[in-house]
């Protein structure tokens, strides 16, 4: 656990040093999902050009319903994921902004042997994940910003077995609201049909989350186009 705490501190330190150089957005949120009773995530994103934003995201979840090698563990163990979301602005029409999301990620999960009825001896897992999709950003007014979109996250377990764990069609809905200069609150939700692992894994996914977005080093708090953060 101490090692995990050190990793979180290290991650924050890196993010903080980067954030001193240019305008960027820091999202801190928590929520619940089909997979996790409670999960927290920290997301840092920075526009490199007017059309391209890069980010890094850390997520830690307390599992509700997850899988190792296609076998369920419930209300036990841990799940953590690190991802690098990339957002490309590909079109604007009136106030509607269309963005392409590409999000590679790696996920680690684990559970104590006595906490699962798994008989094959697999108690830790590593998975590669990739989410692609289209995200819409709709500035409603100076304070309110609405988001929607459709994405297709894929999870592929690589350790201990090579297993196509899950694919989902996720529908997104979200809002963020300016509460102070450079500071917004956000509420996001998503849901969609899932399949994978010969039917052993999720058949439906959902998540809801809320948090704050801090627009770093900007005197003018524009509608935040931060990267939608998901649970897997």
């Amino acid at each position: 656990m101490k090692k995990k705490n050190r990793n979180v501190v290290l991650l924050f330190s890196i993010l903080w040093s980067i954030s001193t150089q240019a305008q960027s957005v820091l999202d801190i949120g928590f929520g619940s999902s089909q997979q996790d009773d409670i999960a927290i995530q920290v997301n840092y994103s920075k526009p490199l050009t007017p059309k391209f934003t890069v980010g890094i995201q850390y997520q830690y979840g307390m599992p509700n319903y997850r899988f190792i090698s296609g076998i369920t563990f419930k209300d036990k163990g841990y799940s953590t994921a690190i991802s690098a979301p990339l957002l490309f602005k590909i079109n604007s029409d009136n106030k509607l902004q269309l963005k392409l999301l590409l999000k590679p990620a790696v996920r680690f999960q684990g559970v104590k042997p006595e906490e699962t009825n798994n008989v094959n001896g697999d108690y830790k897992t590593t998975a590669l994940m990739f989410e692609s999709g289209l995200i819409l950003n709709i500035p409603f007014n100076n304070k309110l910003n609405i988001q929607s979109g459709v994405t297709f996250p894929i999870i592929y377990e690589v350790v201990p077995t090579a297993l196509f764990e899950n694919q989902t069609t996720l529908l997104h809905a979200g809002v963020n609201y300016k509460i102070a200069n450079n500071l917004r609150v956000f509420f996001n939700g998503n849901m969609g049909s899932s399949w994978g692992a010969s039917g052993d894994s999720q058949k439906f996914s959902w998540s809801g989350q809320m948090g704050i977005s801090w627009n770093i080093k900007s005197s003018n708090s524009k509608p935040i186009n931060s990267i939608i953060v998901n649970y897997f």
């Binding site: 029409d93 798994n118 008989v119 094959n120 999709g133 459709v150 049909s193």
Partner: protein
Amino acid sequence: MKYIFIILASIFFSASNTYSQSNKIGWFITPEIGVMILENGVSKTVGASLGLKVWKNRLKIGIYTYGCPGPLNPQTYTIEAANGQSYKGSTTLTVRADQLSFGLLLAPTFKIKKWNFDIPINIGTMGAGFYFTGDDRVTPDGDRVSVWENKLMDSKDAGFGSYLEAGIRAFIPSNNENIQFGAGLHFTTVKDWSTYYDPSGEFYNNKLRFSLFVNFGSRNDS
């Protein structure tokens, strides 16, 4: 599916440039919820269509995917296990239905007064089957539940088939042409899909489906 999306995204990139120059190619994203009328009730659906609008917005080309996920549809069905087998002491299996469709979309559009309509025709692959739910997903020997489902349902607990769907969607007039709510009526046919529970393959075949959606997209002013 991943490659189809990447190809589509590439087309989006080039289309967005074309759109900004000539305003002749547009785009749309349409998340939806709905219900499908089945033999023994209704099944809730969730899905989306997305793609490009071409030919001065007279034709939509893209992908259309929707599913009847089991967790949204808790109705269960019972069937005797294959070959006299039993599961947790019972020869009767209690299962739930689950379905997912993914296909290509072609949708001619037309307008009557202020109302926009399209005729979505989608063709693709449907995967669907029947699965254990609740405590039955914890198997007696700790093995994967799909192993038991295969064994007890003669390796036909689920399957893939092809589907063709046609319908009509109406888009409610809106002051903001970028965002429109609407409703659709669809008719689905399924080929070459059958399971142990439903050897006839009629469970999802020749069924009506209703959808409610919100459509985001470029304006139809070209």
